[in-house]
């Protein structure tokens, strides 16, 4: 009987190994999406359930991607990353290109790290993390839309319009002076928002926290909204900051967390 069990275990292990090899062979972990239309409506979309997305703008004209299986899940820093098969597909439609990673419920928890390089001047980029994980976008000058359900959002050196909705997680956004007349809206439900403004960025900041503080490295006027029965620490606070040069409205709202404005 024990011999039979060992045989079964060996058979199952062999079948699993074969299936994994076949899947890995069918689904490359790296790829290049060529012929990206850089016209006024060109868009790239990432739609992922669990894991981590890192998007970096470059001067190249191709979109390249690398997908790493993240066996430890998105919340660990020391990840055990393996080049194993991750279910994903690439959609090319009239509105652009999308990498979609939505495993079926039967496939269970599959987290992945997706590293993407896109043309810096691509008009539209949309990143959506539907269940849990972090999003990072760097060096991008087009219009960025981020929806992150559970995880932190980190944005660096952005030069275009930015719209972020983060449900559970913080937002850290660094803006270049090139934003000009493009709107910026950073909304967080449970998490702080940190805005880092490069020198020369103009416009007006409208910052609001329902439970937290509004802080800045420069003097700002913060209005405290009077609320009966609430301690001073948890009163809503609102600040409107003029940056001294013409520019867009930069809206920051968090329901639960601090707002930090850093001006260089």
């Amino acid at each position: 009987m024990p011999l039979l069990s060992t045989r079964y275990v060996a058979l199952i292990a062999g079948a699993l190994a074969s299936a994994t090899t076949v899947l890995a062979a069918q689904m490359p972990t790296t790829g290049v999406i060529r012929r990206v239309d850089l016209g006024p409506a060109a868009a790239f979309r990432v739609d992922i359930q669990w894991g981590r997305v890192i998007v970096k703008g470059t001067d190249a004209t191709d979109i390249t991607y690398r997908i790493i299986r993240d066996t430890e899940g998105p919340k660990h820093d020391s990840l055990l990353k393996l080049p194993l098969a991750v279910p994903y597909h690439i959609e090319t439609t009239t509105s652009g290109v999308a990498i979609i990673m939505s495993p079926a419920e039967s496939e269970g928890f599959i987290a992945a790290e997706l590293q993407v390089s896109i043309p810096r001047n691509l008009p539209f980029l949309s990143v959506e993390m539907n269940r849990g994980g972090s999003i990072e976008v760097r060096d991008f000058d087009g219009e960025l839309t981020v929806i992150n359900r559970n995880g932190d959002t980190r944005l660096e050196r952005l030069g275009g319009a930015v719209l972020v909705e983060a449900t559970n997680g913080s937002i850290a956004a660094g803006l270049n002076r090139t934003i000009m007349d493009k709107p910026v809206s950073l909304l967080a439900r449970n998490g702080g928002v940190t805005l880092d403004l490069a020198a020369g960025v103009g416009g007006t900041i409208s910052a609001e926290t329902r439970s937290g503080r509004v802080l800045s490295n420069r003097p700002i006027q913060v209005a405290e909204l009077p609320e009966r029965g609430r301690s001073a620490e948890y009163r809503p606070r609102r600040a409107s900051v003029s940056l001294g040069a013409p520019g867009p409205l930069i809206r920051i709202m968090t329901l639960n967390g601090d707002v930090i404005i850093q001006r260089r």
């Binding site: 219009e143 839309t145 719209l163 007349d181 809206s185 329902r210 029965g229 409205l249 809206r251 329901l255």
Partner: protein, 200 residues
Amino acid sequence: MSHDIERLHPDDEEVLDAIKRLPEHPVPHGMEARFLERLASQPVRARRTQGRRRIAWAIAATVLLVVMIGRFRGKQEVSSPLLPVGASPASRLASIQALSGSAFGSEVVARLSRTALYDSSANVRLASIEALGKSTTSEALEPLLKQVIQRDASPFVQAQVVSLVVSFPLDSRRRLEAALLQRQDLDPVLRATLRAVSTS
């Protein structure tokens, strides 16, 4: 024959008489009755043609008018500060922010109301409600906010509604606060805020 006579115009009395006399009198000057009949119907045909022309002109004028109105409306839409459907969320947001503080016509109010209810981006819905709050009276805004409270599960939009409601007249404020508190998925921070400032 009699059928054709009935279809003639009453003014053609001479022709009618001529035709009515046909059985009694032989064909004058050797003309055939059929030819005379055709001759007699000519004024009617001419009148019919004239009528058809008038109808054609009326249709053409109507079509032209419709086209002109359409073009005018199209120009209005293009020149409207709100971009047409299909623009990106940031473009829609920028358009709404550009409106902020100005007086709205009924068309802009209608568009902003639709945007506040149906736009796919919470950022844009929030901006619409904020813009309406700055330029519309609380009486005019209350029905819309009721719909927003019923429909919108976004905590950011709900937060904007809470911010607006606080400055409403007491009766209106009570109704909207009650509607907000009825939502099971209302954010705990907003619920605490409403309970702290509640007027009821």
